[in-house]
Structure formats: structure tokens, C-alpha cells
Amino acid sequence: MTFGLDRLQEVAAAVVAMARELGADGSEVSVSEGAEFTAQVRLDEVEKVKEAGSSAVGVRVLAGRNTGSSYTSDFSPAGLQTMVRQALDSARITTADPHAGMPDPAELGSIPGDLLLYSEDVVRLETPAKIDMARRAEQAARDYDPRITNSEGAVFTSHVGRHAFANSQGFCGCYQTTSCSLSAVPVARSGDRMERDFWYTLSRSTGGLESPEAVGRKAASLVLRRLNPRKIASCRAPVVFEPRAGQSLVGHIFTAASGDAVYRKASFLAGRLGERVASPAVTVVDDGTLPGMFGTSPFDDEGVPSRRTVVVDRGILASYLLNTYTARKLGLKTTGNASRGITGNPGVGHGNLFMEKGSTGVADLLKLAGSGLYVTELMGFGYNPVTGDYSRSASGLWIENGELAYPVSEVTIAGNMKDILMGIEAVADDLEFRGSVATPTLLVREMTISGS
């Protein structure tokens, strides 16, 4: 069952009116619905097909400077009323917070025009065609090389989402999105050791997907180069981050530059606006306005238009990423980065977050590194945004004489983000978006590699 955008907006407006009647001084209402599809093929057999939809509504009320939140999936009038009453009950036990509230009315708005977030071809694509794409991707991976002996399968997913947001200051907006993705996870064997790797493509339209064969072959080539890894001796050496691994560094910058961490002083970037925090090679941008992209939306989760914010400008910390609350705490203006689930106080999220590309080719960047570790995968949670301490499990390839030589696994790379960012010596020219966070290949001059 789907409601459609008009109905979602009606529900949002009705809940705002209901909250006012029940005594709220202000309210913010989100209404969402989504339909998901997943098909997994493994060893040429359909293994899983999942198809369903769901919807939810959430409200945050203001009672003076107290806030309370609630959500439900019950859209009946009684269900909505219970939800609003629960939010008001919740507000009674919170403490008045002088900084709580909604954006200034002048800050509310929506980016005009078509942001290319919705494509009818995703909705129209039939199940057999989806299964066929997964089948072809897996087949291409398995046919690539006899050392590909097994597979965790290939998966096609699609999603259609609709979202409406309204507040008691008169904002009411909505948008719909589509997305689809195709991924393959082949397994290769050598002796009694196995390795797996993956590749994927995703787009807001089916036409934007890479071919299933290209996805399968790329996944196969990635897993093959991992076979027979060596564990190297501990050392200090240059580290090159492949884009799939380097994304997490941009994510770490986001965590530290987000207003929540900054006003709590839980960030190594707190209090450093205008200072050099990275090498001049580093420019980090958050842009929620790029048409057709995964981090794009016409407005944020407080009804403020999305925008482009330069976070790090040639190494200088240029801006934090803020919602209304964190901006008020810091005496700044919102950057349109409010983010929340269906309800609750807004947190800080990002749009399309990326490191700008440099001018060095990847081959030249490896030559600059000379010898060191080319990281293709990172695991674990060894990043502390409060201190910047960084220690993660890594695997990849060893660089010898500026060329990729042999696979390496069971090592860690460690350092402090302050030093890692200052040590980014070169940024390659291979920026490519595969989701909402992206980075080109990066070279960090020196990190501690821990092995045998």
C-alpha cells in the first residue's frame, strides 16, 4: 500500500494542526514511506527475493523550551493522536533548554527545480529483469578465473522512497527518491586460504548502473589480487588509501567537524576554525545540491535548503557542519545539515561529502610513495574523534619501487588524525561518486604499520 506524496503532506499538515490543538507551542512532523526490493542470486540459483513497503510518521513538539518526540506506524486518527499526546507527555519530563527550537522562519525553504532524485524506470523494472542482472553479474565474476571457486552471490536492490516534512512555522515540503544497486561478492581460493572482495554500482536510475558484466569482472579482479597475502614486519612507511578505503577518512573528518561533536568539545577540530588542520592538498566539501546524487535533497530535516559548504579549504578549517541547535550553541548559522530519523531532536548529517580531486595520476602517486602500503580495506572501530587517535586493521598491497607488488593482510595502520591530515602529500585525480561519500586516491607520507 502506498500513500503518495500528496497524502504524506496532508498527514504532516494534519499532525501539525493536531499538535497545536493539543497545546504544543510548536511542532515538526516527518512522514515517510518506502518500498524495497532485494534479489540475491548465488551459484546461478535465486536464493532470496524480498519485496515490501512500510511507512512511519514522527513528531517533535515544543512546549516552551522543552521538547518531546514520538513516532508510530499507525496512521489512523486515533494512532496519530496517541502519538502527539506521547510527545507532549515526553516534553513534560525534559528540561527547558534555552537553545532548543526551530530554524528562523527566514531560513526555511527548498531548492527549486528537478534534482533528478526520482526515476520512473526504477519503479517500472520487472522482477525477472532484476534477477537477471544479479545472475549476469555473478556469472561474470565466476567465469573470470578458475581460482574463483565460490561466491557469496550477487544482489540487486531497488528502493522507492517518499518523504514529507512540515512544521508549525508554515513549512511544508516533500520529495521522492529512487535508487537501485547491483553488487557481487566472489570468493577465491589458494591452498586452504580463501579471500573475498566485492564491487558494486548504484544509481538513482537503472540507466545509470554499470553493466552486470563490468561489476562481476571488477569484483573478480579485486578478489584475485588479494590471494596469498603476506604479513609484513612492523615499520613506519607511506600509506596510500584506495578510494573505497579512503572514504572512511572523509567520514572521520565529518565526525570531527559536525556541530554536535564541536560544541561538546568532543572533537579534535573544536575551536580550530580558520586554522590549518590538513596539508594544502586537502579540500573537503559537503554539497547537498548536486542533481541525481545520493547525498542530495531539496531541504534538510528541519526544512532548511541544502547547500554547498566548504569544510576544509586547501588545508584550512573553513566551516563546521551545523543544524539549528548546534549553530545556536556555537553562535553560528545553520549550514542546512540537520538530519534525523523519523523523529527526535535533529542531529547533524552530510549531503555529498567529498575530498576534491588533485591533479596527480594514480600511477604517479604510487611513484611518489615509492615503497609503502596501498590500503584497499579497513576494519574495526579504532578512531576516536575526541583525540584523533587512529588505529585500524588494514589489508591491501605492498608498493615496491612505485608499483603494486604483492598482497598484504593482518596488519594495522595507526597514527593520529591530526598528523594523518597534515601528512596527506598528494591527492589523485580519480574522484568518483559511488554513494554520498567520496574521495580520490590519497597518499599519506608516514604512518605506523604494525605486523609481525
Binding site: M1, R42, V46, E47, K48, V49, E51, A52, S54, A56, G58, T67, G68, S69, Y71, S73, D74, Q86, S90, R92, I93, T94, T95, T127, N150, E152, V187, M194, E195, R196, P229, S234, K265, A266, F268, I342, T343, N345, M379, G380, F381, G382, N384, V386, T387, D389, S391, R392, S393, S395, V411, T412, I413, A414, G415, T448, I449, S450, G451, S452
Partner: protein, 477 residues
């Protein structure tokens, strides 16, 4: 209690024959097996920060998931509308995986066995919000009073109650009420002008609110978080390279969860993509090591009366004296491989297909004196607190991240160390366990396990152990 008197039956007018008719639709195009999973979940979460109660959220979610299995194929659909008509529509979608003449579900559902591990007289969510908020205010005060260097305290409290009912085409019908409550405290401390450090603590379980007044108080969690933050102020860089590692009791059991637990989930082994595939009966750990996954421990966060496929949870021995004994199964892997059910089929909520998952995973205690274990190490590290971990089940490589650890020099704990990753390979690492203490402890009750996009609550535990060789990802030489 008969189902007709249960919360789900009373609230949504659901009857057993409604579920039987949904199962009939699910098998209308053939298939070997079908089940219906009905869920209602109510959640409360509260937080305090800067001594201000900044947020209070309550909400409900509900839905039903219908699954059809045909050979190794699974069809799945769900609805957030619990009417019989909507569930039948979803059953039709799930049925599309099969393609043949209709199968007939067993008529006349019979109650399956279940445990009784958490039947609370009063659920945490039935206690007035004011009383629950008071826990946060007490945590805030206690953390600030602990040390003048504490400058920021964040505390959260959350409880949920989850009602589930599962009907299967082989005629079983089970339902359960699963309560959960937990508190977390996060503290920042700094020396004047110095950089801040964070400490973190928390706990809970399938417990009544009185747990936080009688057993583990807000003050207990607050002091523990504050103590860690203050300890970290004096921390030095962790060493790099292979070290002798001593793990303290309790939460460091997360090692087992990553090093062996995930690799023993039968879905990976059925497909032959786990580093542990085909190794049953082989030596995969030191003879001192026995690892158990037990979903039947009273009140624990990882415990369940029934799993999310309606099977009673069990105590499963995974590794016995170093020998691999068995995997954790869900219905599908048990059906395909012919292995006995282990009560391990779990899912995050009605939107998800169940998978083999852990419950409470721990190492049985040994004979060594914990103090003697530390004294036996001339140089190494002692780890007390961890942030979590991750594993690549195919290569077996795993990582877990120490948040509180100390240098061991001459058999004594000396300087506290900054956070560092510890890494190893699943089937190899536990072969280096050379001492196991008599002090088995389970964690405080904060574990969340993520797998293929689904989170479920879990527990871990371990006695003090010595591992002769493990790579530590510090920066000091």
C-alpha cells in the same frame, strides 16, 4: 497464558486461525516451509547532557513478515498493517519464490516449547517517565562529583518491549514478550588546558527498572565512565607489533564474538565461505579453550525464550577443549544440512529475514589464578575495555579495539595505553591461549551485533586469559 489472552491477540484481534490462513496463502504456489512473524515494539529513549534533559522519545512500530522457503530459496514480504487481509497480500508476494502446485500447511497449530527467562512483574516502560529520568540525573551528578577534571557528561536511558508471535507451516506456534532496558554514560575529562579524553560505561538487560536501583546503579556506571576518562588522561602510546596480551574478564569476550563466533554461523558454513567451513572435529584453539553460545541465561541481554523463528533457545558448545564441535543454525541451514536446530535464528525486526546469530557467547573458566596470569608476563599488554570489533569471515581476519589497556612490565600493570586495535586470524589466534583464569564474567549488557545490515542484542563473556602472540596496532616502537 493462551495466545487469545496475549497482548498481540487482544490489541490486534489476531487469532491463531488467521495465521493459519496466512500460511495457506504463503504455500499456495508450493514450497517446503512457510512462517509468519508478527511483531509489536514500543520504545522509550531519554538523554541528559550539560545537566539538561534534552530529549525524550517514545514510539511504536509493528508489522508482520511472511517467509516461504523452497529448497534453498527464500521469498520474503512484510506489511506494517496487522490485518489478516494485508498479511495475506504479503504472503502472496512471498509465495512468488515458489512455482508449483500448492503445498498444504499442517492444520491445528500447537504450542512449541519455550523458556521463561524474563517474566517481569512490571515492565520498565510501565514505570512513570519521571522515575526513569531520575536515573539520568543521578548519573550526571555522580560523574561530575567523581573528579573535578570531568567537564561533560552524557547519559542515555532506553527501554523497549517487543511482543512477537511465530506460526509455522509445520504446525508450531509460539509467542513471547521480550523486555530490555539499558543505561549508557559517556564522560569527557581534561587537565586544565589539555586535550579531552572520553570514558564510557553502560549496562542493563532483560530486567525490571529496579535493576538500576538495586544491582547496577546510575552511580556505578557514572563512576566507571569517569574513572576511564581520567585514566586516559595519563595514557601513553600503545606498542606496535606482536605482543603477549592478557584479556581481563567480561567484555573482552568480544574477542570470541569476532574471532570464532561469526565464523561459526551456519549460513557462511553451509555456503563454504567461512574460514571455519569443513573444520568440525579439528583443533581450532588451544586445549584450554571451550567456547559456548548460550541463549538461556536468566535476564541477560543476549538471552531469548524463543528465537525469531519460534524455536526455544539453547546452550550450544561451539569449541570444546580446542576442538570445533558445531555451528549456530537457523531453520534454513538446519533444513539444508540436516543439523539439529540451535535456537539461533534471529532478526532485527519484521522487515528482515532471520539468520543464524549469536546470543551470549563466552569462554568457560579455567584453573589459573587471574593475578598469576598477569605476573607470568614480563612484557605485554593487559586489556580491560573494548569498543567492539569486526571480522572478515572468509579470510578469518578479525579486529577488536581496546579502549582501556595497560602496559605489563615485569608481571605488573604499569602505564595506561591509548586506544589500539588488536588483530588476528580466527582459526589461528586462539591456539596461542596459554592460560585461562577461574574468573569468568559476562559483560554488563550493552552488546549490539551487526550482520548484513541487521542489529541484534548480544552478550559476551570471558575469564582472564593469556594469549602468547597477538598483533597490537599501536604507534610506539
Amino acid at each position: 497464558m493462551p495466545f487469545s489472552e496475549s497482548f498481540l491477540a487482544r490489541t490486534f484481534g489476531l487469532a491463531e486461525n488467521d495465521l493459519e490462513s496466512v500460511l495457506a496463502v504463503a504455500l499456495s504456489r508450493g514450497g517446503d516451509y512457510a512462517d509468519v512473524y508478527v511483531e509489536y515494539q514500543a520504545t522509550t529513549s531519554l538523554s541528559i547532557e550539560e545537566s539538561i534533559v534534552k530529549s525524550a522519545t517514545q514510539g511504536v512500530s509493528m508489522g508482520a513478515g511472511i517467509r516461504v522457503i523452497s529448497g534453498e530459496r527464500t521469498g520474503y514480504a512484510y506489511t506494517d498493517d496487522l490485518s489478516a487481509a494485508r498479511m495475506k497480500q504479503a504472503a502472496q508476494v512471498a509465495a512468488c519464490i515458489a512455482d508449483g502446485p500448492a503445498s498444504v500447511p499442517k492444520v491445528g497449530l500447537e504450542a512449541g516449547p519455550r523458556h521463561d527467562l524474563y517474566s517481569l512483574e512490571q515492565l520498565p516502560c510501565e514505570v512513570p517517565l519521571q522515575e526513569r529520568v531520575r536515573l539520568l540525573e543521578r548519573a550526571d551528578r555522580a560523574a561530575r562529583a567523581f573528579d573535578s577534571r570531568v567537564f561533560e557528561v552524557q547519559a542515555t536511558y532506553g527501554d523497549t518491549v517487543r511482543y512477537i508471535a511465530i506460526a509455522t507451516s509445520d504446525g508450531r506456534f509460539t509467542f513471547d514478550r521480550q523486555p530490555m532496558a539499558r543505561m549508557n554514560v559517556s564522560v569527557l575529562a581534561r587537565d586544565s588546558g589539555g586535550p579531552p579524553q572520553r570514558g564510557y560505561s553502560g549496562g542493563g538487560g532483560r530486567v525490571p527498572l529496579s535493576f538500576f536501583n538495586l544491582e547496577k546503579t546510575p552511580e556505578y556506571f557514572a563512576r566507571e565512565a569517569a574513572r576511564q576518562a581520567v585514566v586516559q588522561l595519563g595514557a601513553i602510546d600503545a606498542p606496535a607489533g606482536e605482543q603477549t596480551v592478557v584479556l581481563g574478564p567480561g567484555w573482552p569476550g568480544v574477542l570470541l564474538h569476532e574471532a570464532v563466533g561469526h565464523g561459526l554461523e551456519a549460513d557462511f558454513n553451509r555456503k563454504g565461505v567461512s574460514a571455519f567451513a569443513g573444520r568440525i572435529g579439528q583443533q581450532v584453539a588451544s586445549p584450554l579453550v571451550t567456547v559456548v553460545d548460550d541463549g538461556t541465561i536468566r535476564s541477560r541481554r543476549g538471552s531469548i525464550n524463543i528465537d525469531d523463528e519460534g524455536n526455544a533457545s539453547r546452550r550450544n558448545v561451539l569449541i570444546e577443549n580446542g576442538i570445533l564441535r558445531g555451528y549456530l543454525h537457523d531453520n534454513l541451514s538446519s533444513r539444508v544440512t540436516g543439523a539439529a536446530l540451535t535456537g539461533s535464528g534471529r532478526r532485527e525486526n519484521y522487515r528482515h529475514i532471520p539468520m543464524p546469530r549469536m546470543t551470549n557467547t563466552f569462554m568457560m573458566e579455567g584453573a589459573s589464578d587471574p593475578e598469576e596470569i598477569v605476573r607470568s608476563v614480563s612484557r605485554g599488554i593487559y586489556c580491560k575495555g573494548f569498543a567492539g570489533g569486526q571480522v572478515d569471515i572468509t579470510s578469518g581476519n578479525f579486529v577488536f579495539n581496546a579502549t582501556e589497556s595497560y602496559l605489563i612490565e615485569g608481571g605488573r600493570l604499569t602505564a595506561p595505553l591509548r586506544g589500539a586495535s588488536l588483530i588476528g586470524n580466527g582459526p589461528e589466534s586462539l591456539k596461542h591461549v596459554s592460560m585461562v583464569g577461574w574468573d569468568l564474567a559476562l559483560d554488563e549488557g550493552v552488546g549490539i551485533c551487526g550482520k548484513e545490515g541487521q542489529s541484534v542484542p548480544v552478550g559476551v563473556g570471558i575469564p582472564t586469559i593469556r594469549i602468547d602472540r597477538m598483533t597490537v596496532g599501536g604507534t610506539a616502537r
